[in-house]
Amino acid sequence: MSDTTTGGRIASRMPAFLRRADPAVATAFACIVLLLFLGGLYSPNFLSPEYILQQFKVASFLGVIATGMMLVVLLGQIDLSVPWVVAMGAMMACAAAAYGPAGAALAIPFGVLCGVLIGVVNGIGVAYLRIPSMIVTLATNAVVQGLMVVYTGGFSPQDSAPATIRYLATGFAVPGVPNAVVIWALIGAATVFALTRTSFGRAVYAIGNRERAAYLSGIDTRRVVMIAFALSGGLSAFGGVLLAGYASKAAQAMGDAYLLPAIAAVVLGGTSILGGRGSYLGTVAGVILITLLQSILSVMQMPEAGRQIIYGVVIVAMLLLYGRAPANR
């Protein structure tokens, strides 16, 4: 910590938050500012507080889902079961709400629990059966899709979201701040705490960096992997519940638009797709960036196909950019 080297001297003059900032996170935040600036040139509405608050609200659904994705990506795995776990969370919560007052009270926990169960199945497949996560989560996604289609008989579910769920997504418990944003903030704070202050968080990073070293250090690596997948499933389902509240009803394909953005947000935020490296702040930046990009593209009336192309290109470009960083492995 002494000022013996030039590098040390320069570094010590910089503010602490800049010294610790990950270049990837800084890039993501810079892109957000740039997008807002470009949007502002197009229409001054993009810089109004109402618009920005609205974007935060829309971002919070993706934020909740991306949180789970980030845990799994930190392990060096991936969760492709997001689309139908999101839909299942929404549909199951709405379905439970139809069963009287008890059902309404338990609607949210029930939806989340269904997601956790799918996550546990994913986790068992990856950690204990050693199936590549890309395969097992793709398979569970298909299975859940099938189950949901059977449940609805091929039609859109008639159950609309009950008042509690709608309040959770669109109400204002804190004046001026949508509940969805508050929920994302709470989940985010809990995640930051878990990743930096608990042995679970350390184990997640350790497994992502070098699973063998973590195992030989006496960590129950399989349990950690399973918990991470269970959390990812639970958070996806909870994201679905919130979405149902936002849209007032659950729909079959409602999760399809969240898989690629969730992965993109995590990766844009500087989390290594190989695992072991990344911060939650980066994921927050990635989520906001993706949401803004989506919004601005739709305001500019870019057709859906164009949006998909831009997504894919941005992800590949960012992976190439970050992939060039010197690796310590």
Binding site: M1, R197, T198, S199, F200, R202, A203, Y205, A206, N209, R210, R212, A213, A214, Y215, L216, S217, G218, I219, D220, G276, R277, A327, N328, R329
Partner: protein
């Protein structure tokens, strides 16, 4: 020899890896129609020599000639082209492909750009016949063949490249006695056909049966070449002794551990043929060494204790109580209190991109947490203690551990386990690739931990270290304990002799696999 040009000659070949010299001005001459055996202890330079000949590594200096013409290999394929084929201990066959596919895998015969399957089969049949394995069908899948047959395919694959020099590196170590005899008759026939064979083995009886001449390596240099049978086993061992050392070891206390209840004990430990019926004890305060040549089951034995291996038979006892250790998590637990310093700190000991702090406290986190939350003040205290205790030199606790020097990285690996105050410490070659100063610190540390009551099981490939550090050394050969050495028996001569499983090591021990 004057006047005639030898088939192959290397002169003044040197190769360094960092500060370690693997070969130092080594010379070797290979003649056709002869079987030439290479001898030497761990780290004498045998494997580097072969890698240079096979084009896997390029030497720093020196030259190689084939019939007087200079040779420079850019790749293993270039060495093949020049007529040098090698067979390594680990098989290089693709199990899912057929025997014929494997034999011609480097250079398949082609017709119109496609593989000519008929020609391929012809080549394979010829090569198999030459390898004395014409009973193997060329279309059989390699995965369906037993290990000994695969070894024959490996030889056929090498022969299909029409080599003039064939290198066999421990090529028989996986074979049973009857198969060894078959391989030998093939090798002898190849010799009469005029092939030059370079044979590396640690089985002295095999060398006695096969070799025409022998070259002994020591410290990366060839120290003697002699016609087979002109030196006694005792003389051969003397030639192999004499690595240069400048270490100072802490004094060993005079103690008798025989009465004490062993802290760590195993009985009849066996595992899939890699460990055979191993029984040993380590008393509190005792440093027990594991010796022998590399890869005789030492690593597996340590992993067996640490709960990593599945399907193991035998009994492990801690403080006289039988225990079942099913995972490293169980091994490190309070009931057992075991620590393993693994072989490769970069892949098994540390998470290199993570900080020094996170690495140091990682194995002891369960003791620093309440309900999963890390007590950062307690963590800092323990880390400070360890950094001071082991004198770890680091620019800070939050830099990646990968930025430290090798010696300091190894100190971090040891420190992270000492945080748990383990009663039983297993070490897998902990001083490999670290500087002399750190080595000596480590020797003193081991002795101090033993004096404080720890039971230490210490595998080292460095014989001098075993002699200097250990109260007792168990020498492993072929997955079994071939000899136990204590007190004045613990000499380099005895260590090497028993590592080679020579009768001179201990009377009455039969060689591992007599041909």
């Amino acid at each position: 020899m004057a006047g005639t040009v030898p088939l192959f000659r290397m002169e003044g070949i040197s190769k360094r890896y960092g500060g370690v010299r693997a070969l130092e001005k080594a010379d070797l001459t290979v003649e056709p129609g002869r079987i030439h055996a290479i001898l030497g202890e761990n780290g004498a330079g045998k494997s580097t020599l072969i890698k240079v000949m096979a084009g896997v590594v390029s030497p720093d200096e020196g030259r190689m000639t084939m019939e007087g013409r200079p040779l420079v290999f850019a790749s293993p394929a270039a060495a093949n082209q020049a007529g040098i084929a090698s067979i390594f201990q680990e098989l290089s066959l693709v199990p899912e492909l057929s025997v014929a596919d494997n034999i011609v895998i480097c250079d398949p015969p082609k017709k119109f750009g496609m593989i000519d399957r008929r020609a391929q089969r012809r080549i394979a049949e010829a090569a198999l016949a030459r390898a004395g394995a014409d009973d193997i069908h060329p279309c059989a899948l390699v995965k369906d063949l037993p290990l000994s047959r695969r070894q024959m395919v490996e030889i056929a694959k090498a022969l299909a490249r029409r080599p003039r020099i064939l290198i066999l590196d421990e090529a028989t170590s996986a074979l049973a006695a009857a198969d060894v005899a078959r391989v030998f008759s093939v090798l002898k026939r190849l010799r009469t056909e005029g092939l030059a064979l370079l044979y590396i083995s640690h089985r002295m009886n095999e060398i006695a049966e096969l070799a025409d001449e022998c070259t002994v390596f020591r410290n990366g240099r060839n120290v003697a070449t002699y016609a087979a049978g002109t030196r006694s086993e005792h003389e051969v061992v003397e030639l192999m002794i004499g690595r240069e050392y400048s270490h100072v070891f802490p004094a060993k206390p005079e103690r008798d551990f025989r009465g004490a209840t062993p802290m760590l004990e195993c009985r009849n430990l066996s595992w899939t043929g890699r460990l055979n019926d191993i029984s040993l004890t380590v008393a509190p305060g005792e440093v027990v060494g594991l010796g022998g040549l590399d890869g005789q089951g030492q690593r597996e034995l340590l992993l067996a204790f640490f709960g990593v291996l599945r399907g193991m038979s035998g009994k492990i006892m801690v403080n006289g109580r039988a225990v079942r250790i099913t995972s490293p998590a169980a091994a490190r637990g309070d009931a057992i209190g075991m620590a393993l310093i693994p072989e490769d700190r970069k892949t098994e000991g540390l998470m290199l991109p993570m900080s020094v702090r996170e690495n140091l406290s990682f194995a002891a986190l369960d003791r620093l947490t309440t309900a999963g939350v890390i007590d950062r003040a307690a963590e800092q205290r323990m880390i400070d203690d360890m950094v001071k205790l082991l004198a770890i030199k680091t620019a800070g606790l939050d830099i990646p551990v990968g930025a430290l020097s090798g010696g300091n990285q190894q100190k971090v690996v040891i420190a992270k386990w000492l945080m748990r105050q383990p009663g039983i410490i297993l070490l897998n070659d902990p001083t490999r690739g670290i500087d002399v100063g750190t080595k000596q610190e480590m020797y003193r540390l081991l002795r101090r931990l033993a004096d404080e009551g720890a039971a230490i099981l210490f595998y080292s490939t460095d014989y001098d270290e075993l002699i200097g550090c250990c109260d007792r050394v168990l020498v492993l050969y072929d997955g079994a304990i071939s000899r136990e050495l204590t007190g004045s028996e613990l000499t380099e001569h005895a260590l090497i002799a028993s590592a080679l499983n020579l009768a001179g090591g201990k009377p009455g021990v039969s060689p591992g696999a007599a041909a």
